[in-house]
Each structure stands twice: as structure tokens, then as C-alpha cells.
Assembly symmetry: C2
Homo-oligomer: 184 residues x 2
């Protein structure tokens, strides 16, 4: 008998079901730790490298590649525009996470995603960052995520799937950040 993997939306549903079963049997397998190392180059220009993570009960050994990525600032924000700004990169992270969460949960629920594309926008007021007005926040006052999707699921189902996104959770709800600074 030839068996083929049960793939839906590019997601191996058999492996997804196995993952859920493993996590239910051994809850500690569900704990993950993700990391990044960041190096300052100059001004508002930084580079990060990302490789190691902890998950499924151990330090990962499967990832071969170290992913590197930069942030910078355009000329009007006193940079040389070598890369996208940190808030733009946050939008990339958010759009990818909302889309990925929708695709995985659609697969788990038997819904097909044929195509998906989105645009994200966040607005801010530099009075916050520049310290000119303590009433104005530093970050975006809000973000819009507009998604066009071809699917047999309803808009309501798709929105509920997307909202399993970890990054959506981290931006809409407070996430504590501890800062430890050591002088070199």
C-alpha cells in the first residue's frame, strides 16, 4: 500500500495531529524559547543573527543556517536607509504571523487557503519618540491589517484562525520585557 502525506495548505496535517498528541501526552514538549543576537553598527543601523532555539524538550540541532537581518532608518530619520526600520520589520513579523496562524488553523479544520496577500500600516507621532510630549506614545497608535484571501472558509472563521497568531497576541496584549544592561 502506498501512503501519501496528508498535506493541506502546505501544512502536513498528520504531523500537526501528531504534534498535538505529543503535547497532550507530555506537556513540557510545548515549551519553546526563541532568541536573537543583535549588534550595533552605527547610528540607527543594527544587524541581528538568529539560529538557536529550544523546543520539544531540547536545544534544537536541526537548523543549519544562521539567519541574518538588518534594521536601519531612512534619511529623514537620520539614517542611511540600508534596511527597513524596526517598526516596519514588526509589521513584516505581524503580517507573516497572522497569515501563518490562519493557514495552520485552516489546515487543522479542513479549510483550504488558495492564496493570501495583505497590507499592513501603522501610524505614529514623533512627539513621543523625541520626548516632546509625554502624552504621545512612542509606538504606533494602531495598526491595520488588510488581508485578501481565496478560501472556502468564511471571513469570520478566517479571522478566528488568524487570531491564534503569537505576534498578534504580543502586540495587542502587554508582554513584559526585562532589560539588563551591563557596561563593557
Amino acid at each position: 500500500m502506498i501512503t501519501t502525506a496528508n498535506i493541506k495548505n502546505g501544512v502536513n496535517v498528520d504531523q500537526l495531529v501528531e504534534t498535538i498528541e505529543h503535547v497532550q501526552a507530555q506537556p513540557e514538549l510545548a515549551k519553546f524559547k526563541f532568541r536573537a543576537k543583535n549588534n550595533w553598527i552605527n547610528g540607527g543601523h543594527c544587524v541581528s543573527s538568529i539560529k538557536s532555539f529550544y523546543g520539544v524538550g531540547a536545544e534544537d540541532t536541526s537548523r543549519q543556517e544562521t539567519f541574518t537581518m538588518e534594521c536601519s532608518h531612512p534619511n529623514v530619520l537620520l539614517g542611511e536607509d540600508e534596511a527597513a526600520t524596526p517598526p516596519e520589520v514588526l509589521l513584516h513579523s505581524l503580517g507573516s504571523c497572522l497569515t501563518g496562524a490562519m493557514v495552520y488553523h485552516a489546515a487543522a479544520n479542513g479549510a483550504t487557503i488558495e492564496s493570501a496577500s495583505s497590507s499592513l500600516e501603522g501610524g505614529c507621532d514623533l512627539h513621543g519618540f523625541l520626548g516632546l510630549d509625554p502624552e504621545v506614545r512612542m509606538g504606533f497608535d494602531g495598526i491595520t491589517f488588510k488581508l485578501k484571501v481565496k478560501s472556502d472558509a468564511s471571513v469570520e472563521q478566517l479571522e478566528n484562525f488568524a487570531k491564534f497568531s503569537p505576534v498578534f497576541d504580543m502586540i495587542t496584549n502587554p508582554t513584559p520585557i526585562s532589560i539588563e544592561i551591563v557596561k563593557d
Copy 2:
């Protein structure tokens, strides 16, 4: 007379002071809108393109390059590991933003940053994402940012400078996200 630009930590302090003066004279110049376009490839693999933004009272025309970046997932999270995961990219955005904010505000306050490098880590429990336990959040339950910095400023000053970071604000404080889904 030869005049040289007043550069500190790679930041043009004269231009920074001018920016503050312009914003104080015309507050609407401080409003910025940043954007990303995201396209789903397959499974948890997406690609974003980032170029246009609004700021200083107009749509930007200075940025020549479109920045593209991907997100994916490692094998244990059912992906092909073509790129970092969205939560890892969020750590990159956060580390770059905290560092950049520290560098800019140090420059504005006459403090020197000679070097800066950091490591970030966030922990999560897949019971949240998988929908197995509504008490467990989808995102990181907390993030640590450990920064090593060579500077004439005190640790307390450096921490206060870093906390002007827009991405730090967006993760530690709730930021509303509106989701609009249209069927294609």
C-alpha cells in the same frame, strides 16, 4: 571657514536638533505612517516587501530600494526552515529598536556609545497557539533583553534612553490591531 557636521554615535546631532525644531514649529510634520506588504507562499512561509512610507508632511520619495524579507518555520513547527520565525523576527525588531533609541538619545544628550551588543530571548508554550489551553497565551510570556555597552553614560541613563524605543512601547503596552479580511 570650514564647518564639519556634528556627528555623535553616527547620529548627525545638528540634523536631530533641526528635526526637533521643525516638529515644534509644525507639529504635523511628526506624523509618520509605515507599511509592509505580505504575500503567503506556502504553509508558514511568507515574504514581505517594504518601501513606501509617509512622513514629514508627505509621501516619501527618497527611498530607492524595496526591502524584502521572509518568515518561515523550522521542521519541528512543520516548516522547511527557509527563514526565521515571526517571533524571532520580532526579537530582531525589538533589539534593533531598543539599541537605536539608546544611541539617538545618547547622542542628543552628549553621551558616547562606543559599542553595543545584545541577546534577546522569549519563551512560549504551544498549548496557547494550538488552542489546547485557553489560559495559556499564544505569544511570549516574557522577553529578556541583555545589553552589553561601552559608554560614558550610566546604566540608568542608558536604560532610560533605550525605553524611548517605539517597538518596546508596542510590545509592553497594548497596541490595537484592526483586521479586515476580504474574500478574493
